[in-house]
Amino acid sequence: MAHPKRKISKSRRDKRRTHYKASAPSIAKCSNCGEIKLSHRACPNCGYYAGRSMFVPES
């Protein structure tokens, strides 16, 4: 069976990992209540999406 000839150095390993990045979530302002929410999701604060009430928040 084939095996690696050399141990991957810390440098090479870390260079590979430079592309592992976290991306910021896409955020939008709720058109109903103005609260910040995730885009393409119903607003957890007021329960509105696309000008329509989807659910009534508990509190």
Partner: protein, 187 residues
């Protein structure tokens, strides 16, 4: 490649998946609005919509076809009556999926699946302000019902399996012995 591969498996066997889709569809037609994961909501959509289309034709055959999947007779009645009446001339697209974000606990993407012509949200708002306790109890029922239905189906399946097991046991033991013999030969 996953070219032309339709549908989602939902981490279930075929029978379990069918049972899930049936109970979700029944719940949707009963309550007009259900909260599930995005995957289940989208998959249920492709399951109920043809049933609703079928229900536009008010014949005994169509009723039986729908009743094959919707096990609640009251719900079938309601579908052929109220729901079809409200849907009217709409040519498909009877449901709406609105994403809600991830569920605390397992991070599953949640969504609301609802019948488009039943915009009961505004009505609900009035109701919740008047009697918030009644709202909660209906929600609890929602979660209980589909589970119970899945269990019923499982029981039926289990009985069938038990019957067939006795027959196949003899065959299985023979085949197991032959495979073991082969293994020994290989060694």
């Amino acid at each position: 490649m996953r070219h032309r591969v339709k549908g989602r498996k939902l981490s279930r066997t075929a029978s379990h998946r069918l049972a899930t889709l049936r109970s979700l569809s029944t719940a949707l037609l009963k309550h007009k609005k259900i909260k599930t994961t995005v995957a289940k909501a989208k998959e249920t959509r492709t399951f109920v919509e043809p049933l609703i289309t079928k229900a536009k034709d008010d014949s005994v055959a169509a009723r039986r076809h729908v009743a094959r999947h919707i096990k609640d007779k009251e719900v079938v009645k309601e579908l052929f009556g109220e729901i079809v009446e409200k849907i009217g001339d709409r040519a498909g697209g009877y449901t709406r999926v609105v994403k809600l974000g991830s569920r605390p606990g397992d991070g599953a993407d949640m969504a609301i699946l609802e019948l488009v012509d039943f915009n009961s949200v505004t009505d609900k708002k009035v109701k919740t302000e008047a009697e918030p306790k009644a709202e909660k109890t209906t929600k609890a029922k929602k979660s209980e019902q589909p589970k119970a239905k899945v269990k019923e189906e499982d029981v039926v399946e289990a009985e069938v399996i038990e019957e067939t097991k006795e027959e196949t046991k003899a065959e299985e033991s023979v085949s197991e012995e032959t495979t073991e013999d082969k293994k020994e030969e290989k060694k």
